[in-house]
Symmetry: C2
Subunit: 328 residues, 2 copies
DNA sequence: TTGAAAGCGCTAACAA
DNA sequence: TTGTTAGCGCTTTCAA
C-alpha cells in the first residue's frame, strides 16, 4: 500500500510552489497556461489524487450528501436511491446511504453520524411525519422526501390527486360499489391518497368498506373479511404491495380479475408489471422526486437561500390488466 | 447555519488543553475519570460534534467504505446493499454507495472518486469478471463480491452446487427431460451454475435444450422456441427473473405449472414468493455474503494482512409451488 | 503571474 | 495525568 502522492510532492517535482500546484489542480487562481499544463502533467505522471479530507478541513465542504431512508428492500426505495446517487454524481457529489430500518432511534443516530461526517446536505425520507432529529439536522441543508416536517423543504408526489385518479378510472369503468384498503394511516402521504379516494367514492358511488393493512402482501383478518363479505366490484389499495396481496387472496377464493372484481394499486413498484394479471396502479414520479430533491439540496448548499418550498410532482394512472368494466 | 463548535472551544470552556479534550472525546490517552467526565459534559452542552474530515487528515483514516455495484434496481442488490450498510454501521463505518449502471467507464470513474475520497476499504460487485480499475484500487483494501478478480479477495456463493441442487430436486421428482435457460454466460458465476446443472442433467437425464437469455423477464425468440418445441417436463433458469418470464410464457401458452411442466429458478429474489405459483429456487446467502465482505474488508483495514482468500458460502434449495412430480 | 506562509480542526509524540 | 506543540494535506490571503 504505497503512500499516496501529496500536492507538495507534485509541487516539488514540478519545481513550483505548493500554491501554484493547488491552483493548477483546482483551476483556480491565475496561472500561465504552459505552467498549468506542466504541473498537471507532473501530477498525472506521479498518479496524484486529491485528498478530499484535507481539502474539506480547509474549505468546510466535503462534497458529500447523506441519503437517509427507512428500508432499502422496500421496493419503492432502490429506484429512489439509484436516482439520487446518479443525480448527485452528475453534480460531483458522493452519497452516503443509510438504512434506518424503520427504527426512529437508528434514524436519529444516522443523522447524527452524517452530521459528524460533515455531509454538505441531506436527502431524508423520514420514517414518519416526525422530525426525530431536530438538533442533528438543524444546521445542514435538508430536503425531506414524501413527508412534511416543520421548517424543512419537501418534495412530494400529488397523492390526493393520485387517489382520485384511481377512483375516477374505476368510476369510468362503471364501478359504483368500491372498497378501499388503505396502508398505515399514521403517514400523511397515505392518508392523503385514501381520504381523497374515499371522498370521491362517496360522492359518486358507494364506499362499501374502508380498512387498513400494513405495508405487506399478507392481509389482516379484517381486510380479508371485508373483501369476502361486502360485494365490492372494485378495490383500491393504498399501496401496490397490498394490492398484490388482495389479488392473491381474491384469486385463491376463485375470483377472476378483472372479470369479477377490479383491483387498482398505488406506487407502480416493479412487481406491478409482473403479476398475473398485471396491476393497474398510480405511478409515482420517483426519478423526478429524486432529481428535484438533489437539485434542491445542492441549491441550498451552494447558497441560494431559497424560500422554504414544497414541491409537489404529478402522479399518473397506469392502466394494466387488473381493472375492467363492472360485471353485471 | 451556526458555525460548528470545535474541539478547541470545548477545551477552552472546559479549561483544559486541546490534547485533553481530544483524549476525552476519543477515549484515548490517559485521563482522570472526573476530568474526562467534565470535558464530555462540556462537549455535550456545547453540542460538540467531531469533524471527521480533520480527524481523517491526521489519522489517514476516514471511517468510510465504498460499495460499488452494477444496478440498485436489480432485485438482487437492495438486500445486499442494506446488509452491507448495516454491518458497516455496526463497526462504525459509513458507506458510500455507487451505482455503476452496468457501464465499465462509470465503474472505473466511481472507483477513482472513492479512492479520492479516501475510503478505507471497498466492497465491490464488478460488472463483469474484469478489473476495470487496477490502478485506482491497488492501494485500497478491497473485497470482491460474486466475481473473481486477480489478486483480490472475494466472497461468493457456491453457484455450482446450487445449480446441481436445483437439478437434483427435479430428478428426485422424476423429471428426466430437462431444459436449461442460462443467464449471460460471460459471467463466471452464471457459467458455474449452468455448467454444473447441465453436467448433472446429462449424467442422469436428458438435456433437451440449453439456451441463453439476458437478465430480463422478457424472453428471446430462441428461448421461447426452445420452450415450445422440445417437450421438456422441467426447466431450470439461471436467474429468477428469467424463471418468472418462463412461467409467464408457459402459462400464456396454456401450460399448467407444475402440472404440465416444472420451473426452478436461482437467486430467491423477493418476487419468487409472490408469483403464481410461487417459485422454487436456489437461495443466495446474501446477508452472509454482505457481512463476510464487510468483516473481511475491515479486517484488512485494521491491518491483519490476511492471506488472499476466497470465501465460498452455501446456497440452499427453497421448494415452493412451481415444481412438482413429472407428468405421465 | 507566482510564491511564502498562515491556518482549517484535529491527533499524537513528547515533555512536564 | 496533563499540556505543549508539531504537523496531516490542503486552500487562500497577501506580498513580491
Amino acid at each position: 500500500m504505497a503512500r499516496r502522492i501529496t500536492l507538495k510532492e507534485v509541487a516539488k517535482t514540478a519545481g513550483v510552489s505548493l500554491a501554484s500546484a493547488s491552483y493548477a489542480v483546482n483551476r483556480t487562481g491565475s496561472l500561465g497556461e504552459e505552467l498549468r499544463q506542466h504541473i498537471l502533467r507532473v501530477a498525472e505522471e506521479l498518479g496524484y489524487r486529491q485528498n478530499m479530507s484535507a481539502r474539506a478541513t480547509r474549505t468546510g465542504r466535503t462534497g458529500t450528501i447523506g441519503l437517509v431512508l427507512p428500508d432499502l428492500t422496500n421496493p419503492f426505495f432502490p429506484h429512489l436511491a439509484q436516482s439520487v446517487v446518479q443525480r448527485a454524481r452528475a453534480h460531483g457529489y458522493s452519497v452516503f446511504v443509510t438504512d434506518t430500518e424503520g427504527v426512529e432511534d437508528l434514524e436519529r443516530e444516522a443523522l447524527r453520524v452524517l452530521a459528524e461526517r460533515g455531509v454538505d446536505g441531506l436527502v431524508w425520507f423520514p420514517i414518519r411525519d416526525v422530525n426525530t432529529a431536530e438538533a442533528e439536522t438543524s444546521d445542514i441543508p435538508t430536503i425531506v422526501v414524501d413527508r412534511t416536517l416543520p421548517r424543512l423543504e419537501s418534495v412530494q408526489a400529488d397523492y390526493a390527486n393520485g387517489g382520485r385518479a384511481a377512483i375516477r378510472h374505476l368510476l369510468d369503468l362503471g364501478h359504483r360499489r368500491i372498497g378501499i384498503v388503505c396502508g398505515p394511516t399514521d403517514i400523511a402521504s397515505m392518508r392523503d391518497r385514501c381520504d381523497a379516494a374515499a371522498a370521491l367514492v362517496r360522492a359518486e358511488g358507494e364506499l362499501v368498506f374502508m380498512v387498513e393493512n400494513s405495508f405487506s402482501i399478507d392481509l389482516d383478518g379484517s381486510v380479508t373479511r371485508a373483501l369476502d363479505q361486502n360485494g365490492a366490484t372494485a378495490v383500491f389499495a393504498g399501496a401496490d404491495i397490498i394490492a398484490l396481496g388482495i389479488m392473491r387472496h381474491l384469486q385463491a377464493q376463485g375470483s377472476v380479475i378483472p372479470g369479477d372484481i377490479s383491483v387498482v394499486g398505488f406506487d407502480d413498484i416493479p412487481w406491478a408489471q409482473m403479476s398475473t394479471p398485471t396491476l393497474t396502479t398510480i405511478e409515482m414520479p420517483i426519478e423526478d422526486m429524486a432529481s428535484e430533491a438533489v437539485e434542491a439540496v445542492i441549491r441550498r448548499i451552494e447558497g441560494s437561500a431559497d424560500l422554504r418550498r414544497r414541491v409537489i410532482l404529478d402522479t399518473a394512472l397506469v392502466v394494466r390488466g387488473s381493472t375492467g368494466p363492472v360485471p353485471h
